[in-house]
Amino acid sequence: MQWSSAQPPPPGTQPPAAYPYSATTAFTPVQVRQTFGQPYSAAPPASYPPPPAYGPLPINPPPATPLHTNPAAPLTAATPTTTQEPAKKKIDWPESVRNYVQRSFQTSNLDPSVTRAEMEAKLKETISYANDQGHMYTVNWEKMPLPQEMIKEERARARALQQASHFSALSISPSSSKKRKSTDFSEGAAPPWRNGQNRLEDRITFNADKRPAPVEEAQSKSQSKFQKQLEKRQKRFDGGYKSTYREPTPPPSDGPVVGTCETLEKRYLRLTAPPVPSVVRPERVLRQTLELLKRKWKKEQNYSYICDQFKSMRQDLTVQRIKNEFTVEVYEIHARIALEKGDLGEYNQCQTQLKALYKMGIKGKSIEFKAYRILYFIHTANRTALNDVLADLTAAEKEEEAIKHALDVRSALALGNYHRFFRLYNDTPNMGAYLMDMFVGRERLAALCNICKAYKPDVPLRFVTEELYFESDADAAQFILDYQGQDLLEDREGTVMFLTGKAKELFEGPRKAAFSRVDIKGQI
């Protein structure tokens, strides 16, 4: 799995039409895509195929026509533009900018690891940034690193970031990042060209080899201040520094963060510093993330990946203080997935949140999840919490099927009515059976203890199978055998009997052990 910004932005992350670009990137109607693209279409996009959604979106570079100083340059064809975008404001692109664009697409400068689409996006970003800032004429376009270099620099940086966690975020001032419009997310504030001051070296390092440069090297090359801090921190983590010095905690911001990150996927990292907007995804993006994750979950069933992604989503929601039906949906889906995979720690975190969110009056599948909550506390034998759940339920809720079922399970167990318990087990709504599976084993032991003490001299094995809802006699027998009950089974003229009278305390020990061992990680 790729994690870094080196990934192409997935489809759908394109800025919407209302995005400020469109206003500033008006241009003389010169056709763009075909001429740009054709000569290069043979160049393999390497491992970064441009996502399809990119295609139809017009990139609006400066007019190509006046730039044909280089006959080899592929910009000759001047077919009329196919762009539908109306030119709102006419911008006279300075010669230097045009040269810069041209230089970017020179064959000798192309890099197979950077796709066209990425380059175009970067170009657009760089130029419109300069335009927005009014730097268009002051920037030294001659010295400006080419887009492919910037992209690679960012990739290296993202890799470094990834390794040293998100600490780097500290050194980026959140205020300036608001101006940032790019889909790029590895950086907060720095304008695109700052990313690769060490052009030549970078080019040597990267052009020579498609593989990512080792992180350390990348760090030493890009000698920016924050990189050095980053390195320092990393050393500290490795145990290189024994110093007890701590970074001063920056003062907490006034309100919730408003994210600007446009990337769908994000690896989860525990926050130890205030979040930085550039690595936080706004709700609009998170909604797409959720759809993506749902698809991926269906297709790949990779729990560790999904769990990690959901955690980072939850984090983004929290730091932005987004509490609405979408939030509920995220937690609900994560809770269900965690349930399915038996990850009770994660499940519990979700349900705690859900409880609070429902309490605020946000709609969701509250009945379903309140029922799970009851079953969960039965499993963890948390009487205090069970009592609290009971206190929170309204009379109407108690009549809802799922909740009623869970309450019946609870009371059946409280009264030792295993008969009813196993009937209920067989008829559990929603995903409650995943939870009940967790404690059905110990309840079987408890029931066996009961049966062994109460019935003399024996019962048919079939009786055990039916009362304790085993799939088959064989399963029931196996369960008994698992606890060294081999002497208790006797074949009597074709009927297997379970010699309860001889069992004595056989199941008592395991029962006690099973009930004492309810230790869940994440349980408060």
Binding site: L271, T272, K311, R321, T384, N387, L415, Y455
Partner: protein, 452 residues
């Protein structure tokens, strides 16, 4: 301020902690608070107070310099807190209980510093009681006030969290208060001075406050840590019985309730019984609280019900327990279910629902016992020998009784299951012979403890 300092001086010379503590109470008539607040201004408060403290004692009893400074800080903090408290009491526009809380916390800190580094003596610990008690009070006020103004979103503490923590948002100040109390707890616990002049004498008062706070915060389980720490230090601690009775009762009550919540009914009963017997005879409210848990305990440990006489002085407890008791006594399953359902909200609120629910076993036992008795006697095998109760009873008879009693038809398997439970829990002695459809009960004491 002058009268305050006079009291201070008296208390210092007589070493009367409770008198001294009075000077730090916020619980005064408003005029008095006004007077204290107006007796000095921002510019001179520090000097006025310091001079006052300095001159309050003389001769032999002159306070050491450190201590003078310490008490001056304490009273300055007190004076400032009054300055916040007065507008809050009058609901003045700029006032808030949060400010009162913060100012009062300063006062507690000043005291804390006094004990740590400025030589405050242990006899003055009642000051800690008064200040700590009121800190809790102000915390509750502040949380309540903030929760009423939902719009005010003070979220600064939350920023590093992956998920929301709604509980702690609601109880921000009370949680902070618990932390402060914990500091004081350690302050008392770790005093190494000889017992006669040790702050250890303050420990149970603070523990009780902590328990109270933890229960309010819905994290009673944290109290366990306190108990653990306490038992680790038990060796160098004065015995509980040497502390004021009020503190003993409260402590025992909480200890009992904690055991109760963990289903250690035998231990719970022990603690609660101690609290009950130490409790002042006229402290009706406290006795009622103790009984709220002691009665369910008793039901489970000894299978006995409270007598009419015991509950007589407590109409609320009567309402709580009598309907259930009657059903249990008569073995009326259906009525029991109804009574439990009717009282559910009240039971849940007091956290006794899950315990009382188990009373159904006793009701069932009583019903089965009736069946047994109704079975009558068998012909004695020996001519003229003692009559013997019929001990082989068809399951069908029990089934009829249970189905009638609970007003629903149950399958035979479920009936057997209920009987198996009775046998397993030693409420009934005997065994089920499934093949023949009989229950065979013990000839001697089929229902232990009930005379048959």
């Amino acid at each position: 301020m002058d009268s305050l300092i006079r009291t201070f001086s008296n208390a210092q010379s007589s070493r009367d902690g409770y008198q001294l503590a009075q000077t730090l109470s916020p619980d005064l008539p408003q005029q008095q608070l006004q007077a204290i607040w107006k007796s000095c201004g921002h510019h001179d408060a520090q000097n006025v107070i310091k001079r006052g403290i300095q001159n309050s004692t003389s001769g032999f009893e002159k306070l050491p310099k450190d201590e003078v400074q310490g008490w001056s800080d304490v009273y300055l903090a007190y004076w400032k807190a009054i300055g916040e408290l007065l507008p809050a009491l009058n609901q003045a526009p700029q006032s808030s209980w949060t400010k009162v809380y913060d100012a009062w916390k300063e006062l507690l800190s000043a005291l804390y510093r006094g004990y740590i580094g400025q030589g405050f003596e242990a006899w003055s610990i009642p000051c800690l009681y008064v200040v700590a008690k009121n800190l809790r009070f102000f915390a509750l006020k502040a949380d309540e006030e903030r929760n009423n103004n939902v719009a005010a979103g003070d979220t600064s503490g939350q920023i590093f969290q992956d998920d929301f923590d709604p509980e702690s948002e609601q109880n921000q100040k009370l949680e902070d208060c618990a932390r402060q109390l914990n500091r004081i707890f350690t302050l008392c616990l770790n005093d190494r001075a000889p017992l006669e002049e040790s702050r250890k004498w303050g420990i149970y008062y603070i523990i009780n406050l902590l328990f109270k706070t933890y229960f309010k915060l819905n994290s009673a389980s944290l109290s366990k840590n306190i108990l653990k720490t306490l038992s680790a230090y038990r060796g160098d601690m004065p015995p509980l019985s040497a502390f004021p009775k009020s503190q003993q009762v409260t402590f025992k009550y909480y200890e009992g309730v904690l055991c109760f919540l963990e289903e250690n009914y035998f231990q719970a009963e022990e603690h609660l019984t101690q609290a009950w017997s130490l409790c002042h005879k006229d402290a009706m409210k406290n006795k009622e609280l103790i009984l709220t848990y002691l009665v369910p305990c008793h039901l489970l440990t000894t299978h006995t019900l409270p007598s009419q006489k015991l509950l007589e002085p407590y109409p609320r407890l009567q309402k709580l327990f009598l309907p259930l008791s009657n059903c249990i006594k008569k073995g009326e399953l259906h009525a029991f279910d109804l009574a439990l359902q009717q009282g559910e909200d009240e039971f849940v609120k007091r956290r006794i629902y899950l315990t009382l629910e188990r009373g159904r076993d006793i009701a069932l036992r009583n019903l089965l016992r009736k069946v047994f008795i109704a079975g009558g006697f068998e012909e004695s095998k020996v001519e003229g020998g003692p009559r013997v109760r019929r001990t082989r009873i068809p399951v069908a008879e029990f089934a009829a009784a249970i189905s009638l009693g609970s007003k629903q038809m149950l399958e035979t398997d479920e009936i057997e299951c209920l009987m198996a439970n009775m046998i397993y829990k030693n409420l009934m002695k005997g065994y089920i012979a499934r093949e023949r459809g009989f229950v065979v009960l013990s000839k001697s004491g089929a229902f232990p403890g009930t005379g048959v």
